[in-house]
């Protein structure tokens, strides 16, 4: 029985996998083909490939709309945010993972504890703080808030990594009389490169896709990020679905490209810190 049984089991598995792959992929393909249709064609032809491919929707969002501006904004904002994020996560992760100091473990647990609170819960107070500090409509303010919100997870990943680094590396460096910043930049950063790639990708995804804080802190239209820009297009009256889909594709292509090149790191990072059994 075992042979035919095995074949039957495999067949069922394939069948289920194919169904779920279709459910995952179809909406994305639908969005892509819709963005290439004219609004009048979309009314009659919802599901099939466009009879006549048009780039008018893309022309509309990139040239007539503000997509280009939003895109540039994101491209300025996110690299700056990532540098700050990286600095905070790596230095804190190194300290928590490898150094010994009073209250280390309780502080670390507090950091983990603070990770959970939803953005909306914090938003009312964050808005007041930023208003007091003149950080509304100011990229610097958004970067600080983003780093504060996303760094605990990055720190957690870096901490679990540095905890596995052999003690000797640190001790031999200490004997040479180097200071802590030299140890950080010349020893700890280079050895953690693979993990740093992972947290950069996680940080990039978090910032690229972030909505609530940008919604709150960037209130001038010309400052908006790309995700915020398309998020606010949603629900605007008189905007054709074909145009919306072109906007969606425009915002999605960067993360998708990233996925094509860094699939291994992204999948590794998504279970960051590797949960054991």
């Amino acid at each position: 029985m075992s042979n035919s049984y095995n074949r039957a089991v495999k067949g069922i598995m394939y069948f289920i996998l194919v169904i779920f792959a279709i459910i995952a992929l179809y909406p994305l393909i639908f969005v892509l083909i819709t963005s290439l249709k004219s609004p009048s064609e979309y009314v009659n032809n919802k599901l099939h490939f466009p009879e006549k491919i048009t780039f008018a929707n893309y022309y509309y969002v990139w040239v007539k709309g503000n997509m280009l501006k939003y895109f540039i904004n994101s491209c300025i904002l996110i690299p700056c945010g990532l540098v700050a994020y990286l600095f905070v996560c790596v230095s804190a992760g190194f300290a928590f993972g490898r150094l010994r100091f009073p209250f280390r473990f309780s502080i670390f647990l507090t950091v983990l504890f603070l990770m959970i609170f939803p953005q909306m819960l914090l938003s009312i107070q964050i808005f007041q703080i930023c208003r007091t500090l003149h950080l509304v409509n100011n990229y610097f303010g958004l970067i600080l808030v983003w780093v504060a919100y996303f760094a605990p997870f990055g720190t957690y990943i870096m901490t679990t990594y540095y905890a596995t680094v052999p003690m000797e590396i640190l001790e031999s460096a200490r004997l040479d009389g180097t200071n802590i910043w030299q140890i950080l930049f010349y020893i700890m950063v280079p050895i953690a490169k693979p993990m740093i790639v992972i947290i950069v990708i996680i940080g990039f995804q978090s910032m690229w896709n972030e909505l609530p804080f940008s919604l709150l802190l960037l209130q001038t239209e010309k400052l908006r990020t790309i995700t915020q820009g398309i998020g606010m297009m949603q629900g605007q009256y008189g905007l054709d679905d074909t145009i919306l889909t072109a906007a969606i594709v425009s915002a999605a292509f960067v993360p998708l490209l990233l996925f094509m090149f860094f699939q291994r790191e992204i999948t590794m990072g998504s279970y960051g810190g590797a949960v054991k059994g």
């Binding site: 230095s91 939803p118 009312i124 999948t267």
Partner: protein
């Protein structure tokens, strides 16, 4: 060794400073503000428990609680499906990495984009109804996002199950990769059927990851759903897809009733505090940082 302590505090100072200003302080000040009436401008007036009394009589609040509970009912499905699919994937069928990549794809795009795509898919004149009609199932087409119950369940299905499926597969595949292969070999010698092996070997070996995933699911639904709901239904129809998070947004930044919004936020704070407790407990088990 004293140096090491000073160095350490310098290294963690940026993180702590940011956390105190932008997370710890907001969480505490929030509870404080919930006892005031404040429109976001001018002076706040102390009103004691007035906000809480208003909230208890607020229909939206109870609907939000009910909605959250309905969404939480999707957790079992959101746990079982990724485990099953990862168990299929780990059999090493031909082309399995492609399936893994495709199923993971929606996770790349983030809440906002997926929310927008979903809202187009579920439109009355959208592709879902179009597809059903094309398949001759015209009778089950609905105006999904304009019927309160349908909209809420669509939210649960898309956000609670579909969107996180790929992440779940990666997560559980990683957990399964550390299972000792000899356990499977032993099961094979015993002639155990696939289902039996799955139940007796795979599941017990990954129970820690399952616990972790359940906690993560609670967090996603209670504390991360806002951007998705904002783009998917805007809390509508009416307030049929409100959650506590969405209610805070609505009270605070639509009605500009900051004090009242803080009252909702305080309830959410208590709920999140309980979940954070479990999360930290599990993360602590998982790290060698002690």
């Amino acid at each position: 060794m004293k140096n090491e302590a000073i160095d350490s505090y310098i290294l963690i100072a940026p993180l702590l400073l940011l956390l105190v200003v932008f997370i710890l302080y907001p969480v505490i000040a929030n509870v404080y503000l919930s006892f005031f009436k404040w429109k976001g401008m001018g002076r706040a007036t102390f009103t004691g428990f007035d906000n809480y009394r208003t909230m208890m009589k607020d229909e939206t609040f109870w609907v939000s609680i009910k909605n959250t509970l309905v969404l939480l009912l999707y957790i079992p499905m959101g746990v079982i499906l990724p485990i099953l699919i990862s168990a299929f994937l780990r059999e090493g069928l031909k082309g399995w990495p492609i399936f893994r990549a495709i199923i993971y794809l929606p996770n790349i795009l983030g809440y906002v984009i997926i929310g927008m795509i979903s809202s187009i898919v579920f439109r009355k004149l959208g592709p879902l109804n179009g597809g059903l009609t094309a398949l001759g199932l015209g009778s089950i087409t609905r105006d999904w996002l304009n019927k309160p119950d349908l909209a809420l369940n669509a939210l649960g299905l898309v956000y609670g199950v579909w969107m996180r499926l790929g992440f779940g597969c990666i997560f559980f595949l990683a957990a399964m990769s550390s299972i000792d292969e000899s356990l499977y070999d032993a099961a094979k010698i015993d002639g155990a059927l696939w289902w039996r092996t799955f139940w007796n070997v795979t599941i017990p070996s990954i129970h820690f990851s399952i616990e972790f995933w359940i906690v993560l699911s609670f967090i996603e639904i209670l504390a991360r759903a806002f951007p998705f709901i904002y783009t998917f239904t805007r809390g509508g129809p009416g307030f049929a897809t409100f959650t506590l998070e969405y209610g805070i947004y609505n009270a605070g930044f639509v009605a500009f009733n900051m004090g009242y919004a803080s009252t909702w936020a305080s309830v959410l704070f208590v709920v999140c505090g309980i979940i954070a407790f479990f999360q930290v407990k599990l993360m602590r088990k998982n790290t060698d940082v002690q």
